[in-house]
Symmetry: D3
Subunit: 284 residues, 6 copies
Amino acid sequence: MTAAPSPLPEILIEPVVRAALAEDLGRAGDVTSLACIDADAIMKVQFVARQAGVVAGLDCARIAIVLMDPAATFEPFVADGDHVGAGAVLARVSGDARAILSAERVALNLLGRLCGIATLTAAYVKAVEGTHARITDTRKTTPGLRALEKYAVRCGGGLNHRFGLDDAILIKDNHVAARGGVGPALARAKAAAGHLTPVEVEVDSLAQLDEALPYAPDVIMLDNFAPDALVEAVRRAGGKVMLEASGGVSLQTVRAIAETGVDVISVGALTHSAPALDVGLDAA
Amino acid sequence: MTAAPSPLPEILIEPVVRAALAEDLGRAGDVTSLACIDADAIMKVQFVARQAGVVAGLDCARIAIVLMDPAATFEPFVADGDHVGAGAVLARVSGDARAILSAERVALNLLGRLCGIATLTAAYVKAVEGTHARITDTRKTTPGLRALEKYAVRCGGGLNHRFGLDDAILIKDNHVAARGGVGPALARAKAAAGHLTPVEVEVDSLAQLDEALPYAPDVIMLDNFAPDALVEAVRRAGGKVMLEASGGVSLQTVRAIAETGVDVISVGALTHSAPALDVGLDAA
Amino acid sequence: MTAAPSPLPEILIEPVVRAALAEDLGRAGDVTSLACIDADAIMKVQFVARQAGVVAGLDCARIAIVLMDPAATFEPFVADGDHVGAGAVLARVSGDARAILSAERVALNLLGRLCGIATLTAAYVKAVEGTHARITDTRKTTPGLRALEKYAVRCGGGLNHRFGLDDAILIKDNHVAARGGVGPALARAKAAAGHLTPVEVEVDSLAQLDEALPYAPDVIMLDNFAPDALVEAVRRAGGKVMLEASGGVSLQTVRAIAETGVDVISVGALTHSAPALDVGLDAA
Amino acid sequence: MTAAPSPLPEILIEPVVRAALAEDLGRAGDVTSLACIDADAIMKVQFVARQAGVVAGLDCARIAIVLMDPAATFEPFVADGDHVGAGAVLARVSGDARAILSAERVALNLLGRLCGIATLTAAYVKAVEGTHARITDTRKTTPGLRALEKYAVRCGGGLNHRFGLDDAILIKDNHVAARGGVGPALARAKAAAGHLTPVEVEVDSLAQLDEALPYAPDVIMLDNFAPDALVEAVRRAGGKVMLEASGGVSLQTVRAIAETGVDVISVGALTHSAPALDVGLDAA
Amino acid sequence: MTAAPSPLPEILIEPVVRAALAEDLGRAGDVTSLACIDADAIMKVQFVARQAGVVAGLDCARIAIVLMDPAATFEPFVADGDHVGAGAVLARVSGDARAILSAERVALNLLGRLCGIATLTAAYVKAVEGTHARITDTRKTTPGLRALEKYAVRCGGGLNHRFGLDDAILIKDNHVAARGGVGPALARAKAAAGHLTPVEVEVDSLAQLDEALPYAPDVIMLDNFAPDALVEAVRRAGGKVMLEASGGVSLQTVRAIAETGVDVISVGALTHSAPALDVGLDAA
Amino acid sequence: MTAAPSPLPEILIEPVVRAALAEDLGRAGDVTSLACIDADAIMKVQFVARQAGVVAGLDCARIAIVLMDPAATFEPFVADGDHVGAGAVLARVSGDARAILSAERVALNLLGRLCGIATLTAAYVKAVEGTHARITDTRKTTPGLRALEKYAVRCGGGLNHRFGLDDAILIKDNHVAARGGVGPALARAKAAAGHLTPVEVEVDSLAQLDEALPYAPDVIMLDNFAPDALVEAVRRAGGKVMLEASGGVSLQTVRAIAETGVDVISVGALTHSAPALDVGLDAA
């Protein structure tokens, strides 16, 4: 049994949903529902997954509904992180009809996107099942939605990489170039890092790996290494440092990469290219 | 020659970029560059498309750079809406090295997403080339980025559908159900609409189409019609109302839909499922 | 019986009221009530119209009260859009005395302004009663209050014109000059407009009207036309395009304008010069 | 010669103008100018008063223009506080044509409203010329614009009353009722007031005036006193406390009120019911 | 018995607490509690003063808890302004364990700071007990917390000085220098001040005091006067103007200053250098 | 020679300074300077340390000045992190006199607070000079100023602890209690932590230390250990895990703690109780 993914506090989700509603309502609100739906009409609807996938973002949907109608009820039938089949009812909603219709698109946009990320993540996780490797995201997220998208990765069984530029040092090619080598860059980073700031370095060759190992960074990222090179890297690291494979990872290649023995595989596509899961709102 | 797509005023773009930078910088900023790059280092880099595609969002990249270093220069080599090949240099940047590296991910996240949308849009536009049909987006956009994503659709040659719930009436199944038919719903909408509020109605059968036609809405959306039914709908409408096909549209099916003679084909995937274009920042 | 005016969602009103309260409370709050009113005092008061007029903005008053005292009750006796006589009680309020007194001015400022706009609008609407013409507002609204002021126009029986620069094309003299004529400007606009973007053009002579008619814009605005010229314009348009009269409209002149047969008469004064309705808060 | 009215720091004006532009630009910007005006077009225009009046708010107009085109020039020909005749050119502007047209309505809305307030204030000030009385505003301002509207009152030669609930104690009828009399309310207020918090009390009869005088408040407001009663109040106060007349003040009645010898006359209409001054933007 | 200090309306406190929570929660929330505490765990805790002091800020603590768990209960045992001994329980809290632990640090940071200010203020107030002098704060507050910190001063028995640059005129050395003397500066200020704007002037010698007295400012600040000079100043002022001593005030010197007969003693350290009171959150 | 402390990007500082200015300017701005200083007056002033200390926050002072007068010049004579003596000139400023006086208090409030923190940090750093221990801060910072205050700690030579609840796991007594022991809590945390999330645990006895050591957390915090116990803890840890001493640390006790061999000593007082450094703005 999988543990529930660490949720986001509602105080961090609400401003995103509120801004999304304001963006959609514009300056006159939902003119269609105001014209066609009676002011006192009540509606019972349900969120339905039209495709199989992994659930993420039920809180977003609930908050969108409740911000428009504080008296609405939202009854979830599944939990974030659950795998569901096509046709699964995710939640049932009852409340003011105008409010629900006004919130519908925002709820679906967030739910569809987050379920899409969770579903793609779960596909990668499944592809490496049985190996030692774990799937992780990157900072290639949608501006404004990083916390939510990284939460969706957790829902799909993935691990989170850095949340921003500030919570870990990650030395990349430009930093290496600026300092004249992996070693000097690592030395500088180690000296500057706070005692709770992890240090990771990206290397693009076994030679750079050898240069990095003596500095004992927390993680070494092997960028665009061929599987053979990954195997050799794992051998040279000897379990003394965490190894992360990155670059050119796809559902076709990820298993082979995982089988080289690396610890972590980072996949930008989880957040920058996951298709939305098709979720709809149907009469209940 | 295509006209340049209508740009967004910078005053609408800047807050999005500023928030994205704050989200990425967190509470301590780019600790890696601060550790590894000298305070007075200068850098020359270029944004490079690693895949062929359509450009959108150069302003976002420029603003990200300039917000971090007001003295940086940003020289574009292409314009939004241009089709470029793999390897194309989109823009050259020169400025404070720490600032550029701190802005890099935000610039690329926005640029990659918007180019991705423009590129997918252009593929749909090309697929219907020679027909009467135009490709349009939907409200299935990323919360917070609607204006930018709809701009990217324009860059790809697409048309914009409603920008929000407030700028056109779009009667959908729930509204029809609430009023007891397409006709009563249209009657209510026509009475309520301002003189500058367009009215569109979604129908899911030829019978509903017949019910809608006498009300002369601005647009009738034919939802999930088979090609045969679309042909018949075009015939019945007789050019007196704009017809929009929607539902089940893919790059495989769009040409056949276009050839039925509909005016507009709306494609949610343009914004909810476009993979990011792979854009990188390389040393110049 | 008039239908209730389309309401604004509370999520769009609340931030305006909240900001107004913060503006009034400053950095120390209502120092008078804190000094003179006991912390546990309860108060029963009522909003009273001191002049006859049309009601608009009851939600603003309610939200101001409730933001200061979430436990307060607010019982409305009339609805937005209602015509009331001098002395009419609009709503009764009961709750924490300090909170109510702190919210009073903000509630009255919004209520007075919105009732004032609704009342002036209703006067124009009444003046054209029995003609074909409808009264519409403009974008000459108070910065920050456009959605509320346009709602007040609806409460007075008026129609809303554009909500912003983005939801319709409105070609004015500068655009005509830039393109070298009404025709070329309309041609450009028609080509650029989305399929849901209405196109209106302002003309200042019958010659320009003739130039505009073949392009079939959604609306032609006849700017500062004398009544005779309006009659002729209506004749030339022949019912094929909506005609809007604008410029120099007052309560004295509006009837004559309406009787020319134009469809819409736009009146900037509805929002830029409506005197506030005198509303007070009295002991209940 | 009148001194220039105390200006507002730009840092307080800019957010109001920025929000007004965002409100008007919506999600797609000025679609008309984007369609009809070339991207590189330059424009020379001037702000012109179409009616005589008093100028206020030039900074708002300038900031609106410059926020849309930082390279635009804005050359004022008059200063805030100046009396100008119909047709007076207030400022000349040169810059990007699309930007100027996009900013036009916001600039005019603010300028028209603030000039309107300054002009009405000046009419009241002129009406009491030669008397001892000064004209002051109230807190009956537009939510969100208090600082600007009170500035406009200064431009018209008026004095500012409280800026909010927090910068002076003003005991009104409800406070008096809660404490059981003017005296007890004043006693409570005097004890609670900081040493820099002025204390004012509203009285509605000479008896209440007598009750207030021994407490030596900074100001006594005589609410809805007939001229005779005002004369008697002035006599009783004997110059030992500042007297403010309020209620039922109009341009017709203000002179008689002023001649009673009161120090200050407060006029809510200055801000809640001033018609906008007609200002336009013409080709230069 | 002391009256309760004037509270701040919750609408002014909540945004500060909300922003503080967002600052602490970052992009992933309280990862420790999410890992270690069960989702359904309930917790009973109490806020305990680990040092003797004066209470201020209970509302901040309550709001922090309730923003994280709207269903939590917060039962205060003391009130702001109360003097408590070491070990005193300030309030008991029961609710969702993760929520309480996530809010803990923000609650304690605000409570500790505000109690610290109230406690230091009370020490100064006690030091001058029996004299005529009152203790007041300055504008040397923490950016963003002025309203809260001035409230804490009131909780400690202190008086509030200006809340900002706008609610009183305070002529200091630079203003005097700019106008060429205390007299000309006062003349200018008196002419410019609104009728509800108090005027204070800072003087640094008895000669300047003599220059100021004829202008009858509301307050004269005696800056860095020796006790002898203060005595003489009090004599010269003869009770006709309020005198404020400032500069070089410490708990060691304040009594001697108070005994000179000045009305007010302002102490910047109340807000810029008060050590936090040690408050903790313990199992209940 | 010490390296310069890692600066904060200006984009993170500016909103804090801007909000502080708005808080101080209120609704009418600096009424004193507007009354007493001519509109075209220019001023040359300098920031002067009236006490010896360590500099931090020059950027805040510069931004405050420049936000009020974009044309002002700000010439620093020292850098953040420098130790200066009483009387040292920190920076010279020239510009619009009204603007500079309006910005003065905000600039000084931020500079005084941040220099105060840097100065106190430096005192602790000096006290442990020659030992292995480093001084670190806590999350006991001022709400809204965490990034700035942690930057000031770096300026004083200190190390930064967690920036928020999200960038490291820190297991405290409540978490231990919830899981029934240090071991189970660590097991849970290790399983939940991302690969870049450091794990720290607080222990309050040697027994708990022994329980923690096998889990190899990144850091073990020894809370309120007596020096003897710290020595024993260092012995037992054997250099295999970083040890942090916390609780009851003062300038009197810190050296003894440092000499026990712990790696890090955390001091809440650095940010919650540092007195402001006395900095003034004098004529240059």
